[in-house]
Symmetry: C2
Subunit: 352 residues, 2 copies
């Protein structure tokens, strides 16, 4: 295991101690600890040995105090009502963030927003300079988060395009999102290419940009899709089932469905089977997200649009890092780097 020696109980060694042991000055030890540039190799070795022997670990607070960098990033989780973490989407994104943060030697400070009244605490914390930056997920259009973050004057990156007006104008917080619209187009085109003629859509909630973008993509291809072909869900399995039932009632002749996420697609699938409709023979079905735990478990497995969720999490961190570095170079003049739209990919399985 770790060869880290047991430190003297109670008190951890300081730079000073290492310097004394190595027979050099504090400054030299500091240089070595921070990369060792500009120090003779012999001294570097000597210092490294002393560090090793004493089990020296730099004091983070002291370092932060002078560098004004604290090596920590806040991840803000604004819980609208229910289902947050247990959302696999979330898990993957946070994991991507965690991994990338680790690679950057930064820590992840979790800020869980406890209802609307809690935004004040969050704002205070962010404004207090405890973290170098913040990552947030824009869930709803009416979310206060963007304004809180702006007021706190802390660099931030969003996961998912925020819905507030002007967010896309470039002047605001950059975001990482997948190409919802393009992915939706691809899904619908795929259904058309299979010869389907009446393609319905089960949409997500109107206050989420991802859902709206997917509707837009659907409409891009089916310019003249009647309103009867779109049903509204809320991204849950149950809502997908309900929407499917509604669609079948309105348009018993439909021969394809594009659902805005896999969970709703699986709900739709359930209803289709209950009604004795075969998938894909009678009705072809495409989902979105490629949540493999769902998409591969259904019968038949779902054809769906994949987005690299973990990659999006990592990208959020990289974007934030870039903002941070730019800001360090010339404070104030933070020309925010553009947002990133990641590509999607159609994954063909058996349902379409």
């Amino acid at each position: 295991m770790s060869t880290m020696p047991e430190p003297a109980p109670g008190s951890r060694p300081t730079l000073e101690a290492v310097a004394a042991r190595a027979g050099v000055s504090r400054a030299t030890v500091s240089r070595v600890v921070n990369g060792g540039a500009g120090v003779r190799q012999a001294l570097v070795d000597k210092v490294r040995r002393a560090v090793e022997e004493l089990g020296y670990v730099p004091n983070h607070a002291a370092r932060t105090l002078v560098t004004r960098r604290n090596g920590a990033v806040a991840v803000i989780i604004a819980e609208p009502e229910f289902r947050v973490f247990s959302d696999p989407f979330f898990e993957q994104q946070v994991r991507g963030i965690s991994r990338e943060l680790t690679a950057h030697d930064s820590q992840l400070v979790l800020l869980w927003v406890e209802g609307p009244g809690d935004y004040d605490r969050i704002g205070r914390y962010l404004g207090g300079g405890h973290v170098d930056g913040a990552l947030a997920f824009s869930v709803h259009n009416d979310d206060e988060l963007p304004s809180i973050i702006r007021r706190a004057q802390v660099p931030a990156v969003f996961g998912g395009r925020p819905g507030w007006p002007g967010a896309t104008a470039g002047l605001a917080v950059p975001y990482v999102d997948c190409d919802n619209r393009g992915g939706a187009r691809e899904a619908v085109r795929h259904l058309l290419s299979l010869g389907r003629e009446r393609v319905a859509h089960i949409a997500g909630p109107h206050d989420q940009t991802s859902a709206m973008d997917r509707i837009d993509g659907y409409r891009d291809v089916l310019l003249d899709a009647g309103p009867g072909l779109i049903a509204q869900g809320d991204f849950t399995e149950e809502s997908g089932a309900r929407a499917m039932a509604e669609l079948l009632e309105r348009r018993p002749d439909l021969d394809a469905v594009f659902a805005a996420n896999d969970l709703m697609a699986s709900g739709a699938l359930r209803v289709l089977r209950e009604r004795g409709l075969r998938v894909p023979e009678d009705v072809a079905l495409v989902g979105f997200d490629d949540m493999t735990s769902i998409a591969e478990a259904t019968d038949p497995p779902l054809t769906t649009v994949r987005q690299d969720i973990e990659g999006m999490g990592r990208l959020m961190v990289r974007l934030l890092t870039r903002v941070l570095n730019a800001q360090e170079a010339e404070p104030g003049a933070g020309s925010a780097p553009g947002s990133v739209i990641t590509p999607t990919e159609l994954v063909r399985r058996a349902s379409a």
Copy 2:
């Protein structure tokens, strides 16, 4: 919203600035900021006003540097293989932790362990004094975490009884767990009280103490239960279904099942219905956890053993706080506070 004034861009006000504005010394401002004990009311007001006007927020790093307390607690998530966060159990526990931490003005630093090789990084981080304490979840018996934590000499509390030998001896890391054994006993007794005579058990994995404790509780009541009445699962829905099928094969005459968690119970329920067995008429079924999203959604709804998961999370924080305070009072002599076992409660629904 917040009345926090826009701070002068670029530089945040210091204690010094507040002192100057209020016409007092730095020390006095510090006293006021930290509660204001021993300061004349007139001065307190004056300082408070200056703080408000300047939008002063204490510099956390500077404070930590001298107090040696950093107001942050690590939550370690050791991911065995899959399903971590998306586990609703986890979500609830982390939420409890988050809430209690907020109440204590502490931050939650998330440490996500990326495979076995990553333990070194975790150990280094914990040993580096970045956090006041650590909270971890003991998932598997062979987990390295306890030893890592001990080596790092950082106060810690476990969620769930760790499986390593001596863990319960009191000398080690305290933990919070629910009364798995007692809950299991209650479940089985309930089934017996309904007149059932052949009560089977679907057990969880052998390397988790919670699963083992539930088996023990089952055996406490059914001293002479034949081995044919116990089947092994791994806490997943699928495994519950498999175990149920196995049990029915071995003991077609069984008239009750106690599953070690709700997920397995729902799997068992599925199989029972597929075989045309009525629940509870033919076979009574009891789960564990009271994961309401599952237990209330099944048909019939599950009778199950409830544990206060969020409360356990909060308790973990309180326990840690107590260790921290004790340690501050007399360093070294950290007589670890005892672990806590929280009660369980049988929730009667329709399945038994």
